[in-house]
């Protein structure tokens, strides 16, 4: 399989990835380790919370999006890591049994000034459940190597 480089990322829709099924056990295991708030662990407490029912941690959703990005394209991209996330919007709760799909749109792709053998690809990721509800939107840059020899 060819490795994707900076040149393969152009503004516009890049792809749609998934579905990724999320089990109740996964939600509870992540919450127990990283976000043990009652709304993520306890059915009765969750019913009384603003989210009205057991929901996964937003950080679990972010981590799942990372895995979907990896499986979708980052795993076969000359990725050098990411400097951060410009914005994450958690719009609807992640529920046990959800099947997630991920839309990836390239917002901007530019050559790095400080490291001209690399480029910075800023993308928007949108995660939806099987009913098409948007659970979260994220905008984040990744650093991607340019094709061999491209450095100016």
């Amino acid at each position: 399989m060819t490795t994707l480089t900076f040149e393969d990322f152009r503004p516009g829709r890049f792809g749609t990835f998934g579905p990724r099924h999320v089990s109740r056990e996964e939600i509870l295991a992540f919450a127990a380790e990283f976000d043990p708030q009652p709304m993520h662990l306890d059915e009765a407490a969750a019913q009384k919370s603003m989210l009205r029912g057991l929901s996964g941690s937003g950080w679990h959703l972010g981590s799942l999006m990372m895995r979907m990005l990896f499986d979708g394209f980052i795993g076969r991209t000359a990725s050098l890591g990411s400097p951060g996330v410009n914005e994450m919007r958690w719009l609807a709760p992640l529920r046990p049994g959800d099947d997630l799909t991920l839309d990836v749109d390239v917002v901007e792709a530019r050559v790095s000034k400080s490291r001209p053998e690399t480029g910075i690809v800023t993308f928007k990721g949108t995660v939806r459940n099987a009913r098409g509800e948007v659970l979260c939107e994220m905008e984040s840059p990744i650093i991607v190597g340019r094709r061999d020899g491209a450095s100016s």
Binding site: F34, S49, M50, G58, S79, G81, W90
Partner: protein, 160 residues
């Protein structure tokens, strides 16, 4: 946990620290971010990170873990004083998350939180909305991680 009215802008709190072992780093990465520099020492040394590096999502999840643990400690202290404990709501998101330096295996990251803004919710008058900058610093005093968190915090008096 504090009520909205009791939170002061500028207030800062150290809320815990965590040492990232190679086992922790690889376990998280194998589940959520299996890029070679998060899974393998040699691949990490050959990467921009210069060593086995924790996934940025792992650093963020550990920050949340320590925030929740600190919140539970504060709630227990408030309950012991006979005070009503505020139960915080969910977060609508975050901004400006920066993975500034790599977190390498063996690094100990200490986290602090500083309140930046607070406002009442127009749609939900029983809630306030708080923004706080959470920052992680390694054992050499280098800032490695920060983000501007947002959370719904309950108001002490309903809508008044």
């Amino acid at each position: 946990m504090a009520f909205f009215e009791d939170i002061e802008i500028g207030a800062q709190r150290a809320f815990g620290s965590f040492t990232f072992t190679p086992e922790d780093i690889k376990r998280f990465a194998s589940q959520f971010d299996p890029q070679p520099f998060h899974l393998d020492e040699e691949a990490g040394r050959n990467s921009l990170f210069g060593g086995l590096a924790a996934s940025g999502w792992h650093v963020a999840a550990v920050c949340m873990k320590l925030l929740v643990a600190d919140g539970k400690r504060q709630a227990a202290e408030a309950a012991a004083r006979g005070e009503t404990v505020a139960i915080w709501g969910p977060s609508p998101g975050f901004r400006e998350l920066r993975w500034i330096r790599p977190v390498l295996s063996g690094d100990t990251i200490s986290f602090t939180s500083q309140v930046e803004t607070k406002r009442t919710s127009e749609k939900r008058p029983e809630w306030g909305i708080l923004q706080a900058r959470n920052t992680g610093t390694n054992q050499r005093g280098e800032v490695v991680f920060s983000f501007l968190a947002t959370a719904f915090v309950p108001r002490r008096t309903l809508g008044s």
